[in-house]
Symmetry: C2
Subunit: 208 residues, 2 copies
Amino acid sequence: MSREVIIRAATDLLDSGGESALTLRALTTRLKTGYGAVYHHVADKDDLLAAATDEVVARVLAGVAVDAEPRQALRGLALGLFDEIDAHPWVGAQLARHPLESATLEIYECVGRLLDALAVPGRALFDAAGALMNYVLGVAGQNAAQARSAEGADRAAFLAAVAGRWARLDPGRYPFVRKAAARLPEHDDREQFLAGIDIFLAGIATLG
Amino acid sequence: MSREVIIRAATDLLDSGGESALTLRALTTRLKTGYGAVYHHVADKDDLLAAATDEVVARVLAGVAVDAEPRQALRGLALGLFDEIDAHPWVGAQLARHPLESATLEIYECVGRLLDALAVPGRALFDAAGALMNYVLGVAGQNAAQARSAEGADRAAFLAAVAGRWARLDPGRYPFVRKAAARLPEHDDREQFLAGIDIFLAGIATLG
DNA sequence: ACCTGAACACCGTTCAAGT
DNA sequence: ACCTGAACACCGTTCAAGT
């Protein structure tokens, strides 16, 4: 028994059953051990989630091409995060729930340095870094929320259900959402995420 | 006993004690009633949270100057949401946790219509609306997370503690976060939120 | 219809007791 | 030190029983 083994088991539970699948009971059963063994290596459940999240985020940050052109590096970082959060929705939930902690801090440092390399001036640098962080964490949270709603069920079916509900809204009150519903079938989360990043970078460029 | 009375009591509990203060036990005690009475008017706890959130959001949306210049109306909507979420952090948590539901849907419709009025073209309109929503929901989530961490304690003291922790980080590994820590005392969440909105709007303007 | 409150099926966490 | 597992202090929700 070790911290590593415990965190790996927790990650497996989260990946296969979603956020709700990680319970201390399920964890001890899977590890064929007692609560004391787990609590001897880990402070509490949040420590567990934070450690599992740190590992996933570290993997993404290690893949960032720091020596590339800053704008491309930022897009790479953002996409890397998106893909990893898409594969592990619980990571998104954890990031959105605990900002200012280790994993989020690492991302913040990386984003800040890349914006600095982009020559964003003085105090605008912190506004830009904060805004970009909030956008990314917002997407992370939405992704986690969708995964929570779908939970096991087909994701395409879930989106179709949403589109159906929106299409039935009062056209007078919800003209925009109805138009959005019509676009939902051809909608690609990943593309739209990147489009948002580009809007941001375009806005940041005007700060110079 | 009525749905309205129950939702008002729930709102009071949330406002005075934070997210964790709303339990069915606390609610029945405060209302001097049993569980059955509550469940007779409300589907479940989430229904309760959603209804309480709807009221707060509806108040903000009612205050949006729809006939104003779209850019100003958008800033007004964003600021209104920020202030209400700042006053009721649990609203931020609820919005971030349940997108695509009534309260978030109302915001999305409003944002979309205002961007349309801003003459954002075709499919860029949906990218822009999505990006803006994600930014706002991200900020909402962060706000809620901070309130959760502070929970009762002094907010200024909490931020000072964060700044202290950041200032003690390794300067070689975290140059950006350390610089951010130095700026934290003079940092204003509301101003930075608005700065983010402006970066967004500037980026959206380049889509035209 | 509207309400009561004991009971159920879960949680995370603790801690005396073992090795 | 490392681990076991009964027990504790909570949750949200249900439902037979009352009015």
